[in-house]
């Protein structure tokens, strides 16, 4: 079963972190991903640039509108994501608890929804 682990933290607080600590946290993240790859639980993922770089878009009546920044102002911002393969929620929670920023912010674990059931049968 696939689970998406969404990593959130307070960007301002993290930006204030001394450079050596930030570098060490990033090295931890690399090690975490390597570890998840070795155990076969890692399907993909990436850290994200800060919400300063975000653009939110909407399409209404076929018309595209874009706005600066994230969809909602929150105390913690989306900072990255991991797509994980796990046996069940308990294993997903165990895996996600090893994501280094979990010590600073929070990690939301969501099961992935399958769209396949909605695919129309192919005309042949």
């Amino acid at each position: 079963m696939k689970y998406l682990a969404l990593v959130y933290f307070d960007e301002k607080a993290m930006a204030a972190m001394p450079e050596p600590d930030w570098a060490s946290l990033n090295r931890e993240c690399i090690a975490c991903v390597d570890h998840l790859k070795d155990s076969g639980h890692y399907l993909g993922g990436s850290p994200l640039e800060s919400t300063d770089t975000a653009t939110t878009l909407r399409v209404r009546n076929g018309k595209l509108s874009t706005t600066d920044g994230p969809f909602a102002e929150t105390k913690e911002q989306l900072a990255g994501f991991y797509m994980l393969e796990a046996r069940d929620l308990n294993e997903a929670i165990q895996l996600a608890s090893k994501i280094p920023p979990a010590r600073y912010g929070s990690v939301e674990v969501r099961p992935v929804r399958e769209l396949e059931a909605y695919r129309l049968p192919e005309a042949s």
Binding site: M1, R87, D88, L89, P111
Partner: protein
């Protein structure tokens, strides 16, 4: 078949339902991997028992019979549905195959594990606290949604919806039906203990709702506590059961016939339930011997010191303060600090207690907690500082909506006014 025999069989089945239905359900959920399917299967199994046992007599092992019947009914059900959905046929076949290889689905050990699996699943921290409570009372205790609704002053529709959502989350997020691995066990057990204690407190101190419902909840919590101690005798599980028994031992002395509150120091200690006190105290000894005890055991130990004293003045307040010191270390909270302050007042005098409570309030903690103000008021009154007592009682009164508490506080205010 004659009418009286049917009635006798219904009685037998009712008894078996009471003792076995939760265990059968716990096993069926494991075998079928689905709460709804298991509940339907449980229902169908008992319906089948009514006709078949009538004819063939009660089987030697009713539980095993019910599990097996429930499982076949579920497979039947899946097959019937499979006519409309091919993917279900695979599932039904899978159950059939697994059945061939399973050794004994209803051995005592396996059934105990199933009950634990059910408890840990219902108390999974990924479910909201409300959902954990409702699901545990429904699935583990077998209360109806109507009974749960009455106990929580809610509507059956709300409770039913809460349970449906929780089951959907268990299914969709794939919360496994398992006893957590050793590494996670302590954290997960905390969550179970919390649910049980919440159920107990809802019954013990619930504001409204009729007395009968409240007793139901306290009794269910104690029953759950006993079950957990049987299945997983962790020191804190023992401690929690002891704590509940010791609180419950005072229930007959806690209120007057009119439902007015009686404080601990004025309770008639001869009506305390001494069997419950003895059972609780024995559990505390076991928990303390483990040296892995925690906050529940310490709270129980405090309750036991009270229980062993023949009167409030004969209480070993020094020991109680010492236990609160330990409790503050393992689980610091302003409420524990408040209780410690009251114990200090009993040991060292009201002045010392008031100073501690005022310090807690000065830190901005418990300002909205009526008991902090009620305790302060009581101590001021003992010191003869009636103006401060009156103001503190009034603050407490403004902060509680519970009717017996309001009556109690109004009575204190009236007495103060009479003294003036």
């Amino acid at each position: 078949m004659s009418e009286p025999t049917t009635l006798a069989m219904r009685d037998t089945l009712n008894t078996i339902y009471r003792t076995e239905s939760r265990r059968v359900l716990a096993t069926l959920i494991r075998l079928l991997g689905n709460f709804e399917l298991a509940e339907e299967a449980l229902h169908d199994a008992f319906a089948a028992a009514l006709t078949q046992w009538q004819r063939d007599g009660v089987p030697n092992n009713p539980r095993a019979w019910l599990v097996s019947a429930g499982r076949f009914k579920a497979i039947d059900q899946l097959r019937r549905r499979a006519r409309f959905d091919a993917s279900l046929d695979d599932i039904a076949q899978q159950f059939d195959l697994e059945h061939e290889v399973s050794v004994d689905d209803s051995s005592d050990e396996e059934v105990q594990d199933d009950q634990l699996r059910l408890i840990f699943t219902c108390c999974h921290p990924s479910l909201s606290a409300d959902a954990q409570l409702a699901l545990t009372l429904r699935e583990v205790c077998g209360l109806t949604t109507e009974e749960i609704a009455r106990a929580f002053l809610s509507t059956p529709a709300t409770i039913a919806q809460r349970i449906v959502r929780a089951k959907a989350k268990i299914r969709d997020a794939k919360i496994p039906y398992e006893v957590p691995a050793q590494a996670e066990l302590n954290a997960r057990l905390d969550s179970v203990l919390q649910v049980i204690y919440l159920v107990f407190n809802e019954g013990y101190s619930a504001s409204a709702g009729d007395q009968l419902t409240r007793n139901t909840l306290s009794n269910e919590a104690i029953r759950l506590g006993r079950l957990l101690c049987e299945l997983l005798p962790d020191p804190e599980a023992l401690g929690l059961l002891a704590l509940m028994l010791l609180h419950e031992s005072r229930s007959a002395a806690r209120t007057t016939a009119d439902g007015d509150l009686i404080l601990l120091d004025q309770q008639d200690r001869t009506v305390w339930d001494h069997a419950q006190i003895a059972e609780g105290s024995a559990l505390i000894v076991r928990a303390l011997e483990s040296r892995r005890f925690g906050p529940y055991t310490l709270q129980a130990a405090i309750a036991a010191v009270h229980a062993e004293a023949s009167s409030a003045s004969a209480t070993d307040w020094n020991e109680i303060v010492g236990l609160y010191d330990l409790l503050l270390r393992v689980s610091p909270s302003p409420v524990v600090a408040l209780n410690r302050a009251v114990a200090v007042a009993m040991r060292d005098g009201a002045e010392a207690g008031v100073a501690l409570i005022e310090a807690i309030l000065a830190r901005g903690e418990l300002a909205d907690y009526y008991l902090a103000h009620a305790a302060r008021a009581e101590l001021y009154r003992r010191l003869g500082r009636n103006a401060e007592a009156k103001s503190a009682y009034s603050q407490a009164l403004a902060l509680t909506r519970l009717e017996p508490e309001q009556r109690f506080l109004n009575k204190q205010l009236a007495e103060l006014a009479a003294e003036a």
